[in-house]
């Protein structure tokens, strides 16, 4: 299994789109910091936006907010939507399925590789944003969402925890991408479809009348990290994100898995 997973990662590392997504995730925070250096004012209506020039710790949280709308879903879809479909496109599915690995193992390795990529992208964005902003505005104490002061090092720990919980709804988008990638066998369709689905999920969250189901919509889970930034920490959104996202991850993967296991591999 380690070997199969390793090769899935190596394949990603050999493809341009991987760097396209990863590069975008690292350039966006740089642009963001540059713009704030050149201009006065800031994203005051965004959580932690008011403190953006107080400490480099605020920037990654603010960028998380902006990128959750479409940038991160697109970056994730780009790779997850391609990871099975590209094998169909290259005709390599038949090549790897006539070696000594079962289909389930191949699919599992693809899931893990897509999740790895997703996590790497989120943490790469966080790291670049944190480092760039800290160079400009310093590594200072952070003001929490409850208005209390959090020491810089504690704040860094909260950032890491926030990125980790943020990666979980991203994994749900990746899971949906994998599912579409398997079912459509077409990279472009899967990428676009996954992005549409992510946007639809967000749209549902802002429509009037969805208040009662809102906590269980995927879009909402991108804000679960707020729980870490309260004093004392509010575990409710975090725990909810854990199990809600597990469903959003599990359902498409289960269907994708069954399809992958049984499907005819002809002419691909």
């Amino acid at each position: 299994m380690t070997r199969v997973y390793r090769w899935e990662v190596l394949k990603l590392l050999a493809q341009k789109r991987t760097y396209l997504g990863l590069g975008a995730a690292m350039i966006v925070p740089l642009i963001f910091v540059t713009v704030l250096i050149l201009k006065t004012g800031g994203p005051n209506d965004i959580p932690l936006g008011r403190y953006i020039r107080q400490t480099g710790l605020a920037t990654p949280f603010v960028v998380l907010f902006f990128m959750s709308i479409w940038a991160f879903p697109l970056i994730t879809a780009l790779v997850a939507g391609d990871i099975v479909a590209s094998e169909s496109h290259n005709g390599t599915l038949k090549t790897i399925l006539t070696r000594s690995r079962n289909r389930g193992e191949i699919f599992a390795a693809k899931i893990l590789a897509a999740f790895t990529y997703t996590a790497v992208v989120v943490f790469a964005m966080g790291t670049v944003a944190f480092v760039a902003a800290s160079i400009e505005w310093g590594f200072n104490d952070l003001t929490s969402l409850s208005g209390t002061t959090v020491s810089a090092w504690h704040g860094l720990g909260l950032l890491a925890a926030s990125l980790a919980i943020y990666a979980w709804p991203m994994a749900a988008i990746a899971a949906f991408g994998l599912f579409l990638s398997t079912v459509t066998r077409n990279s472009a369709a899967a990428v676009v479809g996954t992005l549409m689905w992510a946007l639809l999920m967000q749209l549902l969250g802002v429509l009037p009348g969805t208040e009662s189901i809102r906590p269980y919509l995927l879009g909402e889970q991108f804000q679960a990290w707020h729980g870490f930034l309260r004093t004392p920490a509010d575990w409710t959104p975090i725990v909810r994100a854990l199990w809600v996202c597990a469903l959003y991850v599990g359902a498409p993967l289960a269907v994708g898995y069954l399809v992958f296991l049984r499907r005819d591999v002809a002419g691909e």
């Binding site: 394949k11 050999a14 090549t95 000594s100």
Partner: protein
């Protein structure tokens, strides 16, 4: 109980909607065979091979490789088996060697020296560092063989391995198949070229419109099809009359040539007679039946039976 056959198909059927791509196919390949799976384009060869390799699910029937069913035993059914259907495909963005390394790892790991060995066998060693995306069809075909050999197979399934190659490539590929067969690997290869199957195979199954219309020894088949002889001369009418007079019934004119069937001794006799009669011979050659003629022959038999 004796060892299970390398390959056995029983009642294989594959339907695509109304189309029956493979229609109750039975096949048995024995150890040491070079088995030809012969049929025109669209006959169902690739579809059969896909079912044998577990890539697609049969609508009915089952396939066994050394007694194991790909649908039941998964990847384990392919132990000791390697091959490809249609053109072998690789990751275009990886080099030939990296592709082999990857596939070797999927088999549980393989030594670099072994990769060099198989690259040498298919004469790709000096291009192994280049990305497969830049390979020609023939190079990919050879890399496909290399990838198969990495598994040290006892049974090799090759789907039209020479199709699309230039004449030199075809000759090399056939040479390679012969060499592998002589090393004791059981081979099943599909082809739409009778001459190729004739050159390489000892046993053959002929498939047409999804159905096996002949399975058995190739020499027996060719004998029964009775290739006969072709005679070219500037006076075909006279030659034909002379042949008939010499008891060669069924000598007929076709496209300005005389075609007939006879024992070698009788052929020698008429060649002398033709000379004495002043009929010049520009060619007198044995005629190899084409696949189409074999089909015609067999469908006639079918109709009679």
């Amino acid at each position: 109980m004796s060892d299970p056959s390398p390959l056995e198909a029983r009642g294989l059927v594959k339907r695509y909607g109304d189309l029956v791509a493979v229609d109750h196919v039975d096949l048995t390949v024995d150890r040491g065979d070079v088995f030809g799976y012969l049929g025109p384009n669209g006959a169902g060869k690739t579809t059969s091979l896909r079912m044998l390799l577990g890539l697609i699910r049969p609508t009915e029937g089952n396939a066994r490789l050394f007694g194991r069913d790909p649908l039941v035993d998964g990847a384990r059914a392919l132990d000791g088996v390697a091959g490809f259907v249609e053109g072998p495909r690789f990751y275009p963005y990886l080099s030939g060697r990296r592709n082999l390394r990857l596939l070797g790892d999927l088999d549980g790991g393989v030594a670099s020296s072994r990769i060099d060995e198989v690259l040498d066998i298919v004469e790709l060693r000096d291009r192994a560092k280049d990305r497969v995306g830049g390979y020609s069809h023939g190079m990919r075909q050879r890399l496909g063989i290399a990838a198969s050999l990495l598994r040290d197979p006892q049974l090799l399934l090759l789907d039209e391995p020479t199709t699309g190659l230039d004449p030199a490539g075809m000759r090399d590929m056939r040479g390679l198949v012969k060499r592998l067969a002589s090393e004791g690997i059981t081979i099943m290869l599909s082809s739409h070229v009778l001459a190729e199957v004739e050159e390489l195979c000892n046993r053959v199954a002929i498939i047409r419109k999804g159905r096996i219309i002949y399975e058995g020894r190739l020499d027996e088949l060719l004998e029964s099809a009775g290739g006969g002889y072709v005679l070219r001369t500037s006076e075909p009418e006279r030659a034909r009359t002379l042949l008939l007079a010499h008891g060669i019934d069924g000598a007929e004119l076709e496209q300005g040539e005389v075609r007939f069937q006879a024992e070698p001794a009788a052929v020698e006799a008429v060649s002398i007679a033709l000379g004495q009669a002043g009929i010049g011979i520009s060619a007198l050659v044995p005629r190899v039946a084409t696949l189409e003629e074999l089909f015609l022959d067999m469908t006639e038999h079918e109709a009679v039976a």
